[in-house]
């Protein structure tokens, strides 16, 4: 009998991320033509945000539910790497990742709360403007996470090429002199 493993905290965070992305998308799609559905999905998104912050408060500094605050040490390390010319630091986990996560969470709270306020008072314009701004942020987030694996693959290929270049150079030099690298050894 195979036993299913319990989902990890990271799996649950990914599930939360998926549900929130779904609630946000449905809220955006229903904004113009279906106000009741827009309110419903908006309240779900607000509930999910409240859950995220409650769990973050319980988790404290523990990953992955802790709030993505970029630490000073991370910035210092990143700056040191860049100043010494190691541009590969841009391809790893940079402090911009937690910063963008925090920025998106902050903007989503403002969008949801302005939506809640628009439900009570005439704040529709503020809510609409914020929602459009948040969409831009979400599209930038999608572009970054979509291109990051591609950039990492390119960087890994470049590293492989750089590592194999001396071997290839030696092999071509040996061929020119009519000897194989194996016979040199």
């Amino acid at each position: 009998m195979t036993r299913r493993r319990m989902p990890s905290a990271f799996d649950l965070l990914l599930l939360w991320h998926g549900l929130f992305a779904g609630a946000y998308t449905v809220a955006y799609l229903t904004a113009e033509g279906a106000p009741a559905l827009h309110e419903f999905s908006g309240y779900v998104a607000l509930g999910l945000l409240a859950l995220r912050f409650m769990v973050a408060r319980l988790a404290g500094q523990r990953a992955p539910w802790a709030l993505p605050v970029p630490r000073a040490a991370m910035w210092k390390n990143f700056a040191r790497q860049l100043l010494t010319g190691r541009l590969g630091a841009l391809l790893g986990r940079t402090p911009f990742a937690p910063l963008s996560g925090l920025l998106i969470l902050g903007v989503m709270i403002l969008v949801s709360l302005s939506g809640l306020a628009a439900d009570w008072w005439k704040w529709e314009d503020l809510h609409e403007g914020m929602a459009e701004g948040s969409l831009l942020l979400v599209l930038v987030h999608i572009a970054i996470v979509s291109f990051a694996p591609l950039l990492r693959r390119l960087a890994a290929k470049r590293d492989d090429d750089a590592r194999l270049a001396p071997v290839a150079l030696m092999a071509s030099g040996s061929e020119r002199h009519g000897r194989s690298p194996a016979s040199q050894a």
């Binding site: 990914l14 991320h17 779904g22 609630a23 229903t30 113009e32 279906a34 009741a36 559905l37």
Partner: protein, 56 residues
Amino acid sequence: MFDKALKQVLFGLLFMMALTLAYGTFYDRGFAPSLAGVVGLGDDGHHGRHEEHHHD
């Protein structure tokens, strides 16, 4: 990781669409208008109101 996150986003989107559709079907304007609303084609009941006005 990217693939896993993408799968969860697609699951979340489908789940939220289904949940909102269920809410709209039972507590708002029924299945068809809710389905149109969930995929971004809702008309806020303007079509029906316009027709009523036209018949008057």
